[in-house]
Amino acid sequence: MNNPIKVLLVDDEEEFVTTLAERLEMREFEPRIATSGDQAISMVEGEKFDLIVLDLMMPGIGGLEVMKQIKSANPDMPVILLTGQGSTKEGMAGMHQGAFDFLMKPLDIEELISQIHEALGKQSS
């Protein structure tokens, strides 16, 4: 993997998503940021991403709906879901709809990175 991995981070908490992007950047990723579902969808249309990290609970279009729309255009796009809810119910629902995995907030960045690698490795194989 010579080229940096291009990841789209989608979350309505701007502080969270920018900080996460900064940290991923330090780890040789090429992150982009969207703070709403609409923004994410339009960004995916204009740009090619390797993977999307998507928060489930957002105002306006929720995470699952965003994933559905993105997947309809790019069915192979790997998606990792984030959830702040204590329960795993929504995350499981997301996996049924094609997400690669879901992670609980607060995130362990190393876990996120290993999941990203795993998702991309799985896809390439």
Binding site: E13, E15, F16, T19, G86, I109
Partner: protein
């Protein structure tokens, strides 16, 4: 010794006391049991008693009538026979006096011959005499020397002269046997009156009466109008003794009387007065014999009645006891079940709260996590000299910690306690605080939350935790009712002097009248599958407990308004501790 006794007594009392406590039942159940028992006793025993009494009276009447009927017939017949007998004897005398002239009968030997024939044909005649108009017996045949005896001064002679016929009462005559005398008057050719007189023993009376007194308990005899026995009685003396009871007057038909005789025996007296003669035929039977079947029946009926009453009372007592016990157990179970449900509801609202809280807290935690991670990264990558960047990260962490603290504070405010704890509360503040739990959802769903607060509203004394639970319940319902982008209006105002009112209005789907009527009932839910149906019933309970009122107004597809009226000071509250 006395000490020991006292110790035992104390022990006994303790045991009894404990037993009493075990049996103790709340007054309303005791009253219920008493009322059911009284009612059931009344509806069973009163008809039973009435029926038993009516039956007894009817049976008694029938049995008595049935037993008396043959006796009455016997007495009537016997009296008739007795009358016929006297008539027959009298007519024999009459026949003689009419068939023969005074002159023929005055001859001693002719009279003797006729007397002999009379005795042979009829029997029982003791003597026969002819008395002329002066009262002198001019011819006589019989055991006494009565020829030429003058009877003119005797009452019977005069009575026979006046009436033409005479029958005497019984008297002791020849050989000390009871006798009666009978006389008939006739006229001779010269128009002078003469009398034919005969005496006979009363053995024939006994022959007539004896069939009536066959069994040893029956006493039958003849009494004259002066109350003198004219035949022997088994219980009331011999012939010519006075009969110790007065015979009630009456016509010549047969009468029945229930009496107590001078010796205290309960008797039935059946009597028949003769038509032409001064005799009454009397038959006396002990009541206990004649009414024996009735007494037996009465006894059996009494046993049956008492047994039925005992059975009914036992059944009523035991079934009522069981019934009331069941009712009480059911009541207790219901109370327990309701408490459990209330608890479950609390748990579920805590669960709902926890999910919300987890989300609310996890977001700032995620920021803290990233910021702290970034700071670590900066140090690791030796970029920590950018002081501004470090400070920004730290202040972001502190801000997020603030967010978390707010949430935990709200949670503490929500902590519910058992029982009501009053404190001074600003309703506006509580509404805002409680809404804070749902702020995120409101934001996500673009709900338009409006406040229409009376800023001058006085503080009230109420329970913060419970009010928050109520408001959260209603807000949750309002959130569920509205579409994304819907409107919810929270308003407060002072109502009269004593109360404040708060209202939560939404423009959601509303509800039907039918639903509106039932929403405060436990287990009523429109959220099929995931509602417990308890939220509003518990809300209702809490508001009542706090001395307030809750009202709902709703129109389908237009929205719902819940209005809660709370007193400034709760009822029965004295001083805050």
């Amino acid at each position: 010794m006395a000490d020991k006794m006292k110790k035992w007594l104390d022990l006994g009392r303790q045991i009894l006391d404990r037993d009493d406590k075990k049996k103790e039942m709340p007054r309303r159940y005791r009253r219920l049991r008493r009322n059911i028992i009284l009612l059931m006793l009344a509806v069973t025993l009163i008809p039973l008693a009435i029926m038993a009494a009516t039956n007894a009276i009817q049976y008694q009447k029938n049995i008595k009538a049935e037993r008396i009927k043959p006796i009455r017939a016997i007495v009537g017949k016997a009296a008739h026979s007795f009358e016929l007998f006297l008539e027959e004897r009298l007519s024999a005398i009459h026949f003689i006096s009419s068939s023969y002239s005074f002159e023929i009968l005055s001859k001693q030997d002719t009279l003797h011959r006729i007397f002999r024939i009379l005795r042979e044909e009829y029997g029982g005649y003791v003597d026969l005499g002819i008395i002329n108009s002066d009262g002198t017996q001019i011819a006589y045949t019989g055991p006494y020397d009565l020829l030429n005896k003058n009877y003119s001064t005797q009452q019977w002679f005069n009575e026979a002269r006046v009436r033409g016929v005479y029958i005497s009462d019984v008297f002791m005559g020849y050989r000390d046997l009871p006798h009666i005398a009978m006389a008939v008057q006739n006229l001779n050719d010269q128009g002078e009156s003469w009398i034919l007189r005969a005496t006979m023993d009363t053995q024939k009376f006994e022959d007539l009466i004896s069939p009536m007194g066959m069994d040893p308990i029956t006493d039958a005899f003849i009494v004259n109008s002066k109350g003198i026995l004219q035949s022997d009685s088994r219980n009331y003396g011999n012939v010519l003794d006075p009969f110790p009871m007065k015979i009630p007057s009456g016509d010549s038909s047969t009468h029945v009387r229930e009496l107590t005789d001078p010796e205290g025996r309960d008797i039935v007296m059946v009597y028949s007065r003769l038509i032409k003669h001064d005799f009454t035929l009397v038959m006396i039977l002990p009541q206990k014999n004649i009414f024996q079947p009735w007494h037996t029946l009465k006894q059996e009926m009494s046993y049956m009645f008492v047994a039925s009453v005992i059975a009914i009372v036992l059944v009523i007592f035991s079934s009522t006891h069981l019934l009331v016990k069941r009712i009480r157990e059911a009541d207790e179970k219901r109370v327990i079940a309701f408490r459990e449900l209330e608890y479950t509801q609390k748990l579920s609202s805590i669960g709902r709260l926890a999910a919300g809280v987890a989300h609310e807290i996890n977001n700032p935690l995620a920021i803290i996590n990233e910021k702290a991670g970034l700071l670590k990264d900066l140090v690791d990558h030796d970029k920590h000299h950018d002081k501004e960047k470090l400070m920004r990260g730290v202040s972001q962490i502190l801000q997020s910690v603030d967010r978390c603290r707010n949430i935990t504070h709200r949670l503490l405010g929500f902590a519910r306690r058992i029982g009501v704890q009053y404190e001074m509360i600003d309703i506006n503040e509580i509404l805002k605080d409680t809404l804070g739990f749902l702020e995120k959802e409101a934001h996500h769903r673009n709900l338009n939350i409006e406040f229409n607060f009376d800023e001058q509203i006085p503080k009230i004394s109420s329970d913060r935790g419970q009010l928050q639970q109520v408001i959260l319940n209603i807000l949750t319902n309002a959130f569920a009712a509205v579409q994304d982008g819907g409107q919810i209006v929270l308003s407060t105002r002072q109502k009269e002097d004593q109360n404040v009112a708060l209202a939560i209005r939404d423009n959601g789907h509303g509800m039907t009248e039918e639903t509106m009527r039932q929403i405060f009932e436990p287990f009523f839910t429109t959220k099929k599958g995931y509602g417990t149906g308890l939220g509003l019933s518990i809300t209702y309970g809490i508001i009542k407990k706090l001395g307030g009122e809750i009202k709902v107004d709703s129109k389908i597809n237009q929205g719902t308004t819940f209005t809660i009226i709370l007193p400034k000071t709760p009822p029965g509250e004295t001083e805050n501790e």
